[in-house]
Symmetry: C2
Subunit: 118 residues, 2 copies
Amino acid sequence: MNDITTLRRAKCKSTLIAIRDTMDILSGKWKINIVGTLMVNGKMRFMDLLREVDGIAAKMLSKELQELETNKLITRTVQNTKPITVEYELTQHGKTLNPIIDAIADWGTEHRNELFGK
Amino acid sequence: MNDITTLRRAKCKSTLIAIRDTMDILSGKWKINIVGTLMVNGKMRFMDLLREVDGIAAKMLSKELQELETNKLITRTVQNTKPITVEYELTQHGKTLNPIIDAIADWGTEHRNELFGK
């Protein structure tokens, strides 16, 4: 194995790890959907998210939001109103997902054309 | 609801469907990994893929390759050698995943820095 191959393999390895990191965070049916919805709408309450994210159950939404918060992609703010309201918002870091989401959306549209004809 | 909101919602809806299409194809632990490996190495035999894609079982690899072929992202070519060899390669359409994979890899690296400090 020559040096260039070794280098390419090492780069490939760290790239694949980075890919796996991202996919661990975004995979599944809901996360990208939730992030996309927050990106379009800005700050949202739990019940608004439940309505906007088509077909998600309250328990699942709660779990997904918690995971997104752990990964510092969203913030959860409790407002001292009566009754108490809880708001979710993308962090600056969460907003950096925008180019990925755009690329994924563009590709999805292209793929549908490719598979079913233009 | 005014016209701009309606328009934004309709656009958002089709965007979210496109996102779901892509994620259905690429989600899970292996697909992006397999596509990335084929992108780096070009044409590969089954056994080479099994070795390069870290930790995948033969049965899973076989299933994932079949799904990628169904989605026209890779081709499967049987070579009339003794013993018969089967080769896998990205299609032109499969290669269009490159920008997504790059974006996902870049973000994964950034995210690791964000989470664990630079």
